[in-house]
Symmetry: C2
Subunit: 251 residues, 2 copies
Amino acid sequence: MEQRAVTACVLIIGNEILSGRTQDVNLNHIALTLGGWGIQVREARVIPDIHSVIVATVNETRAVYDYVFTTGGIGPTHDDITADCIAEAFGVDLVLHPEIASRIEKRPAPPDVMASRMRMARVPEGATLVDNPTGGPQGFRIENVFVMAGIPAVMQAMLSSLEGKLERGPVVLSRSVTAYLGESQIAGALRDIQARYPGVDLGSYPFFRSDRYGTSLVIRGTEEERLDTMLEEVKAAIIAAGETPQDVRKQ
Amino acid sequence: MEQRAVTACVLIIGNEILSGRTQDVNLNHIALTLGGWGIQVREARVIPDIHSVIVATVNETRAVYDYVFTTGGIGPTHDDITADCIAEAFGVDLVLHPEIASRIEKRPAPPDVMASRMRMARVPEGATLVDNPTGGPQGFRIENVFVMAGIPAVMQAMLSSLEGKLERGPVVLSRSVTAYLGESQIAGALRDIQARYPGVDLGSYPFFRSDRYGTSLVIRGTEEERLDTMLEEVKAAIIAAGETPQDVRKQ
């Protein structure tokens, strides 16, 4: 019996990514980590720090995917509006979470600084915590939406705390091989192979390296044996095109 | 009189980004380049190589933004389906574009290889070309949608060919300054400054570097003078919090 796929959407919340000021690295880390846990990232959106946009995007995506993971906008400053938006998306109040508050109170600060910091203790009513192993304020989960920090090191720590706590589907495995061939030299063979393996994804990703064109052929699917057979067919096609299969990887 | 903002959405088409196999770098380049041309990237989506998803996403976003830029899926292999999807999104046929075909024919190849390569000459009826200064097959434009390659060097070349050919709005300029302060130490002052400058965006982006927490304060807007005045207020707030403003940048 085939196991149901478990899907996720990643929402990168932040003007700094859309302006080009910051190169996002969170999507890549989340995709690899969730992939290893049997959760497939099917879509990602980068959206600005605009209340109505965040609310609408959260509501649209949480209805479609098993899980939604957000990064960014949960700090103590005026532009950190993610918690407010998630509460609105779920139609609940924002409340002070005592565990986050007690973690924040452990570091002494003048009253005005503490008041700003306490913004980070606000979570939508009914939310549970996503631990923050770096020791800072926690993230939170409400239904199928996980709200994490934007700083990569903090996001990564928060995500790691979820290991083993999420539903998992079959892990998508991959086989890859590269060849110094123009894609079109092997396109016909690849099309034939793909046609014989419905349900397994055969991708061709061209690159240009050391003055030569090449392509990475990536096979992705959940059934190990079929992937291996398909890999052999792809290698044979590379040889038939007069080149040598290189850099074979199984993951 | 205020100039109207010109907006864009970027669609990154490719399973390899969603699987985490490849780190996207195209969004960042497009955002910076368009920003310099007075076009604001307001959203980006990373979507898989699935026909129905691409068609729906193109139709949804082209109705909302002035421009949509896609990357990926225009090569010669079976998994390159972007042109087919764009044609369907616009309800037109795919046709062979003679200029792309003639560029492809210049490099001799056996008939089967040439047939695969000719896939890259297919464009939606009515599309015009986006030049490819690397010498390879061109991308294309249909109405407000621009279709470019996924390989970063090729995408960058294609995008550069559009310089001066697009509508432009006011360029969003920025002022930034960093301080080794926890965000909450300055959050109150930032909130007050932001409240006095509606229409200018004041963002606070925390970082952790050399074992210290700091934050980058970024002011973004279109009116140079207001940005400069606001920058002075932010610097004063940093000094009032007992720290030294560092790394001031004007862009």
